[in-house]
């Protein structure tokens, strides 16, 4: 698996404050990589280093095998968390200017812009001033400006903030499409549901250190506790319950269900297979709910951060 971006033992200090401590990540080509962490963990600092806005004190960053150089800015598109545009400039003019800063020619930028404007159905905004748009509309413009020059690497920092559910969905679909067209995406957010929906790989930063990284599915597998949500119906709930408790480790139920008499989480050990559990249960009662508990990204985040 080829890594488009590699950060190798990157450290950064601001005076006495250590923002990043020997952080290494590898972002595979064509993946959507989630850069997660609590506030103040160092995500923005790392992103700024990748964008060559700040320089690391230690370590190196490589883009497509090469050390980061000024020419690489045209290969990166960055949507910062705190974002804005020149308020009194017209939309079209401003988008052209920002695209040209990234190395696009004016004509190319113009045609690409028209394409995107039509795609997101905002064609008649060309001559409006930014201050005339609503926040969500301005954010759309900002998104377009980020992806306009078709960069190899896209970095989105909280891209969905400021969007209503419909527009957020729209943006999500665009991000997936961009990935399908060959872009690599680094995605930083606190919205764990979007991490579930989008990310293949994640890295978790906490207090300037990387405390977790890898493929999301692998991580989830590692965090699995072999616990199953069980929902049963029986006329003899009491006795069934005590039988179950004798044979398996029982935990309080963490799910909601409408009709079931018995609701439990059951943890099985290595030697027991899910089928064993299932056949045991079907022999005792009517099984209505049997689902393996897969840890969510949210759970993983909280658990990992708390353990560190």
């Amino acid at each position: 698996m080829n890594n488009l971006l590699v950060a190798d033992s990157v450290s950064k200090n601001f005076g006495k404050f250590k923002a990043l401590n020997q952080v290494s990540i590898g972002v595979p080509m064509g993946s959507i990589f989630g850069l997660l962490g609590p506030n103040g963990a160092g995500k923005t600092t790392l992103i700024r280093i990748i964008n060559q806005i700040t320089m690391p004190d230690e370590g190196h960053v490589y883009l497509d095998g090469q050390s980061l150089k000024p020419e690489h800015i045209k290969d990166i598109g960055y949507l910062p968390e705190e974002r804005g545009l020149y308020k009194s400039m017209k939309v079209g003019e401003q988008a052209l200017y920002l695209a040209q800063l990234k190395g696009m020619s004016k004509s190319e930028a113009k045609s690409r812009l028209k394409y995107w404007f039509e795609k997101l159905e905002i064609g008649d905004w060309w001559n409006k001033k930014i201050q005339e748009l609503s926040k969500g509309q301005a954010q759309k413009i900002q998104f377009i400006v980020t992806v306009l020059h078709r960069p190899k690497l896209l970095i989105f920092d909280e891209p969905f903030s400021g969007f209503d559910p419909i527009n957020a969905n729209l943006i999500k679909d665009e991000i997936l499409k961009l990935r399908d067209e060959g872009a690599t995406v680094i995605f930083s957010t606190h919205r764990m549901e979007s991490v579930e929906e989008l990310c293949d790989h994640i890295a978790l930063l906490h207090s300037s250190n990387k405390i977790l990284d890898g493929k999301l599915n692998d991580i989830k597998r590692n965090f699995k506790t072999n616990t199953f949500e069980i929902g049963l119906q029986s006329s003899k709930s009491e006795s069934v319950l005590s039988e179950i408790k004798n044979s398996f480790e029982v935990l309080p139920a963490t799910f909601k269900n409408l009709n079931d008499d018995i609701k439990l989480n059951i943890k099985i050990n290595e030697s027991t297979s899910p089928n064993d559990l299932l056949s045991f249960l079907t022999s005792k009662a009517e099984v209505h709910h049997f689902v393996e508990v897969i840890p969510t990204a949210n759970d993983i985040f909280i658990q990992t951060v708390q353990n560190n």
């Binding site: 005076g15 964008n51 000024p70 800015i73 960055y78 804005g84 545009l85 920002l98 900002q142």
Partner: protein, 409 residues
């Protein structure tokens, strides 16, 4: 701008058309005939009234005022018995004019008492105009100094205004980019120092263009406007102008002729080429120096109100430069104070420009320019560091201690 100038001239024209009536009650009887009415001022001579009646009459008539000269036995006592009564405070020029008339007359009367006749008094009046010439044979005059000061002063003042206006523009632009957060987007495409320098150079070009437009347009429009409004700029007849005219006519018309010639010579004597070239270089150097400081301030704060604490240290050298220029350079253009201040990079643009009309050796100009360039490069380096950290820094209180930390980031 043009409209403003036209309006002011028009208003002063109207003002000058206002006629003033001053009543004079001269109990001595020998001062009364020095008060001759002119276009603007009518002198009413009152006789046979006492002071209180006179005051009442004048007040009722709403004249400009009443000049009362009490009856005295000796000429020396006139000063103690002369008073001007008016509803409102009289203008300085009116009072000065009256004083001068009375002084002149009293002087003549005193001399006459001692046996000097009026003709002898007139004949004794001499005005001396010492001809000036340099060792190389270049002629100059007193007017020279005034012209030199004027040119230097204009150049220095222009630079001062330019720095303040456009420096502020830059500072505000930096703050706007911080507030709207567009800086976060831009900074991923360009290096901070490129952005900063681009801003400085762009603003200065805008300023130069605006200035050029003013000069050209201004000259054209002024001529048109004065033709339309019938305002003859050269002939505005205010009371002040009257006094100047009287003073000039006292000197005789060939004196005026000589003065005009002197002015032209003086202008010719100015090192125009030197002035123009120096103006350009010192202007650029000084402007670049100050605007990089302004950019740094803009980056250090989050909003305009926080800039106040930095404004004073920036303005101080500039104001100091103007003071030094006006007060010291006139008197002693090549003295220690003037020379020193024309080398200190923060004040040199203004002070050196004011010195140049008086003739400054090229090596001095070159050295000062070099120092300026060196300082400006240092200022840009320093400002770039502050700028780079400051544009992404919010919420930190911008104290000097904090800024010093940023230098090390």
């Amino acid at each position: 701008m043009i409209a403003l100038i036209a309006l002011v001239s028009y208003l002063s024209q109207i003002n000058s058309d206002k006629k003033r009536t001053i009543s004079v009650l001269d109990e001595t009887g020998y001062l009364i005939d020095i008060f001759e009415s002119t276009d603007n001022t009518t002198y009413l001579k009152l006789t046979g009234l006492n002071l209180d009646d006179a005051k009442e009459i004048v007040k009722e008539k709403e004249d400009y005022g009443l000049l009362h000269i009490g009856n005295v036995t000796s000429l020396d006592d006139v000063g103690k018995n002369i008073k001007f009564y008016s509803e409102e405070s009289p203008s300085l020029t009116i009072i000065s004019g009256l004083e001068r008339k009375v002084e002149k007359r009293l002087q003549e009367m005193k001399l006459q008492k001692d046996g000097v006749s009026l003709e002898q008094i007139d004949a004794s009046k001499t005005s001396i105009d010492i001809a000036q010439e340099s060792f190389d044979g270049e002629k100059s005059s007193k007017i020279d100094n005034i012209i030199k000061l004027a040119f230097g002063g204009i150049a220095g003042y222009l630079l001062f205004m330019f720095i303040i206006i456009y420096g502020n523009m830059i500072m505000r632009s930096v703050i706007e980019e911080k507030t709207s957060r567009i800086i976060e987007v831009i900074i991923s495409s360009v290096k901070p120092i490129q952005l900063m320098m681009g801003k400085i150079i762009g603003t200065s070009l805008a300023g130069v263009t605006q200035f050029a437009i003013w000069v050209i347009l201004g000259g054209v429009m002024l001529t048109i406007v004065s033709a339309i409004f019938g305002i003859d700029m050269a002939q505005v007849n205010t009371p002040q102008q009257e006094i100047v005219n009287q003073a000039m006519s006292a000197q005789g018309s060939d004196e005026v002729q000589a003065m005009a010639e002197n002015i032209i010579t003086a202008i010719n004597n100015l090192p125009i080429g030197n002035l123009v070239v120096a103006f350009i270089f010192f202007f650029i150097g000084g402007y670049l120096l100050y605007s990089s400081l302004y950019a740094a301030i803009g980056a250090a704060v989050d909003n305009e109100t926080d800039t106040q604490q930095f404004m004073l240290p920036i303005l101080m050298p500039l104001i100091l430069a103007v003071y030094v220029g006006v007060f010291t350079v006139i008197e002693d253009p090549h003295g220690t104070v003037s020379t020193v201040f024309s080398f200190i990079p923060l004040t040199s643009p203004v002070v050196m420009l004011m010195r140049i009309p008086f003739g400054v050796p090229l090596w001095q100009q070159g050295l000062s320019l070099l120092l300026l360039i060196g300082t400006f490069i240092f200022a840009v380096w320093f400002a770039a560091k502050i700028y780079r950290v400051g544009i992404l820094m919010y919420g930190k209180k911008a104290t000097y201690k904090e800024l010093f930390k940023w230098l090390k980031y």
